[in-house]
């Protein structure tokens, strides 16, 4: 598969190319209701040979993977479809699933076979999906997952009977443990080799639009196969007694949220410091071995400062995803959404918006991707629009630098909280406040909607597996590093070139006379009322790519050799460059402004056009400008001195 699957502009090219030996690849779709263990099975079958992309034109994520067949010389491509309860096309997920299965999805061939995965601890309800799938008349394997749970909780089912009831082969599988997975491979080898034939179902399929009829059919099929539902999950009941306890529940919830925060900030720090030191050393080493010249200057100043300052955030982002992975795989996230629902409802949102907003404290990009679980399109858009107002980790370097330079450390709450930490906390609170007020505004105007009912299935608690957690981390690292290697690298390159041109007498110009300097001088009249000079102007423009870029840019501009390692020099330069009014205005500006191209790109992808990113950019920039202007004027007028 080509490498361009996650890039938005070429998302149409999702068709798997012919495999190496020339034969057409065998395409198998995996489908199942939410919480049936579909993704676990997909991971089990494909391992690391998978890719995440969007279906063309819609925001639904598709995952493609390759399964290696033990006894077959033909490539099998697996498509992981979204979790759905039916094929009635009401949500985007259901529409996509239906289009793929009927072969009408652009760029994807009609699947040659289907793996229908059902949770056999709740077979009665899950079998309902078998009716529309079997009516497609594609070779289908019905996979009864969670076989281990069924057995341990005293349920049973006769797979041979079920197979003849349905007219399709049935396999009892435990995707987490890997039991029975060989039967899935055997089925795929059979369909790929053309040796599987279709049998008509013994029980006639029901009218698909009639849900009660379908449920009745499922019940009839289940009892025909001697299905006995297992006892209720005892552990889930016990854990819910704690996690949903009227007093202990909210306390645990707050501890979990605080713990996530604390770990993202403190726990990631040694890792980030290590990575930072590594990047600095590599830069320094490059500087010492390369001959003085354009290449060295570009690699050290451009790549080292630009890309390096962003790659440093990788540990933080991975930790966040590890947490979200544990919370999601264990089933706690559904309870957290339940507990947060009432609070979120006050701002016009719902419990499902809580999860993305929590992740937005690390980075808005994964947060916006996490909004996919929100069914209501308007709620989802509102959540996407407010997510970048939450204080993401890229603001930290900017905040830290300015606070250290302009706020004197004094005890605020005794030894507990100093003025500097207090200022930082205040900026976090400000971002949160802006986010919820914006949500309220949006939900009572352009995104006004009937209160969408909150319907959330509570999955049983399960132990997260190391396998699925590490797959998530590898997946996210790839996405993150690809971005750093493209967008951020490009900006660093452009800035570096702009700072070194036009040449005069074979020498790079003074920064003031460079192209970047000219741009800075052009915007100076606009930003002067905020207390910013032309150098800050260059920083603001370069930080349109990513907020933290301003630190590196100012470092380069101020001629400090290494902005990150010697930030006290940068602090002193800042103190002489801008007034306290300008400094506070800069803090406020960064709290509100949409200085992040990756976020804009992901918002465009997730909302399917430029409209919302444009609205968001305009609103946030306007808000940032206005509040920074007020801040500068107020501080300058000397009310607080």
């Amino acid at each position: 598969m080509s490498d361009c699957h996650s890039c938005a502009s070429c998302s149409v090219a999702v068709a798997p190319p012919p495999s190496i030996n020339g034969t057409k690849p065998h395409v198998v779709a995996i489908i199942g209701p939410p919480n049936s263990g579909k993704s676990t099975l997909f991971n089990r079958l494909t391992g690391l040979r998978q890719k995440v992309a969007n279906f063309p034109g819609v925001t639904v994520e598709q995952r493609l993977g390759r399964a290696r067949m033990p006894h077959l010389d033909r490539e099998v491509i697996l498509i992981d479809l979204p979790g759905v309860y039916s094929l009635n096309p009401r949500s985007e997920d259901e529409q996509v699933t239906r289009d793929v299965l009927q072969g009408t999805m652009t760029g994807l061939p009609k699947p040659d076979a289907v793996l229908l995965i059902l949770d056999c601890t709740n077979l009665g309800r899950h079998l309902v999906l078998a009716a529309p799938i079997l009516s497609l008349k594609l070779p289908t394997l019905v996979i009864l997952n969670m076989a281990d749970d069924l057995k341990s909780r005293g349920g049973q089912v006769n797979t041979a009977e079920l197979a003849s009831e349905l007219g399709a082969p049935v396999a009892l599988v435990s995707a987490t443990k890997g039991d029975g997975v060989e039967k899935v491979f055997q089925f795929m080898e059979g369909t790929a080799g053309g040796t599987t034939s279709l049998a008509p179902p013994r029980v006639e399929l029901p009218v698909l639009q009639d849900i009660p009829r379908c449920r009745q059919w499922a019940h009839q099929v289940g009892s025909g196969a001697g299905y006995q539902a297992p006892a209720p999950p005892a552990w889930t009941r016990r854990l819910d007694a704690i996690f949903l306890h009227p007093v202990a529940g909210p306390i645990i919830f707050l501890v979990v949220v605080a713990g996530v925060f604390q770990t993202i900030f403190r726990g990631a720090k040694p890792l980030m410091d290590g990575l930072q030191a590594f990047i600095e050393h590599s830069s320094a080493w490059l500087g010492s071995v390369l001959p003085d010249g354009i290449l060295r200057s570009f690699l050290v100043e451009g790549v080292g400062h630009g890309v390096g300052s962003v790659v440093v955030f990788l540990p933080q982002i991975l930790l966040l995803f590890l947490f979200i992975g544990i919370l999601e795989d264990s089933g706690y996230l559904a309870r957290a959404a339940l507990i947060a629902d009432r609070t979120m409802a006050k701002f016009g949102l719902q419990g499902k918006s809580f999860i993305p907003l929590l992740s937005a404290y690390a980075c808005a990009v994964p947060a916006i991707m996490a909004t996919r679980t929100i069914e209501s399109k308007r709620d989802r858009t509102a959540t996407i629009l407010i997510a970048p107002l939450m204080t993401c980790s890229a603001r930290l370097p900017v905040y830290t630098l300015i606070i250290a330079a302009f706020i004197k450390e004094r005890p605020l709450l005794g030894p507990l909280l100093g003025t500097q930490a207090g200022a930082l906390l205040g900026l976090y609170a400000l971002g949160f406040l802006a986010a919820i007020v914006t949500a309220r505004l949006l939900k009572s105007s352009v995104l006004k909607s009937e209160r969408t009912p909150f319907m959330l299935e509570m999955p049983p608690y399960r132990m997260p597996t190391l396998r699925s957690l590490s797959l998530r981390l590898v997946d996210r690292s790839k996405v993150f590093l690809r971005r750093a290697g493209t967008v951020i690298l490009a900006v660093s390159l452009v800035l570096w070139i702009m700072l070194h041109l036009p040449y005069h007498d074979g020498k790079a110009p003074e920064i003031e006379n460079s192209f970047a300097g000219m741009v800075g001088h052009t915007v100076e009249p606009v930003i002067k009322p905020l207390g910013f000079n032309w150098k800050i102007g260059i920083g603001l423009i370069s930080s349109l790519a990513a907020r933290e870029v301003i630190v590196g840019t100012l470092g380069t501009i101020y001629g400090v050799e290494d902005a990150d390692a010697n930030s006290s020099g940068l602090q002193q330069r800042l103190q002489s460059e801008i007034t306290p009014g300008g400094a506070f205005a800069l803090l406020i500006f960064f709290a509100f402004a949409m200085q992040c191209m990756s976020t804009m790109a992901v918002v465009r992808r997730e909302t399917g056009g430029w409209k919302w990113p444009a609205v968001q950019f305009t609103y946030m920039t306007f808000l940032a400008y206005l509040c920074a202007l007020i801040t500068n004027q107020v501080v300058r007028s000397g009310i607080f001195t």
Binding site: S86, R125, I339, R342, M455, M458
Partner: protein, 104 residues
């Protein structure tokens, strides 16, 4: 940030003696049989897919602090709903066998 009041734990207590007619009035732990869903078509279908079908037994379980949303046990799974949704889910009168209905 969180509503801690627990006084509305069971909605049925206020009308003790009177019969619950909607799911929102059914006390925690007591079984009720669904009659119909008084909700817009798309929401009703979504609920039916989640197991809220006429004739099925529903049992209210735990809730978020403050009494809602509440988790309901239905058709082998647990689904959380807000009170505004539960109050539009109509139960069968007990003469049709609610009292003896067993949890699935």
């Amino acid at each position: 940030m969180l509503q801690m009041s627990v006084n509305r734990e069971s909605h049925g207590t206020r009308h003790s003696g009177s019969v619950p007619t909607t799911l929102a009035q059914l006390p925690k732990g007591e079984a009720g049989v669904l009659e119909r869903l008084d909700l817009p078509e798309d929401i009703a279908r979504r609920l039916m897919e989640l197991g809220f079908l006429p004739g099925h037994v529903v049992v209210p379980a735990r809730s978020a602090p403050g009494g809602e949303p509440r988790v309901y046990r239905v058709d082998g799974s647990e689904v959380a709903l807000r009170r505004e949704t539960a109050s539009r889910i109509i139960l069968k009168p007990p003469s049709k066998g609610v009292g003896k209905a067993r949890e699935l």
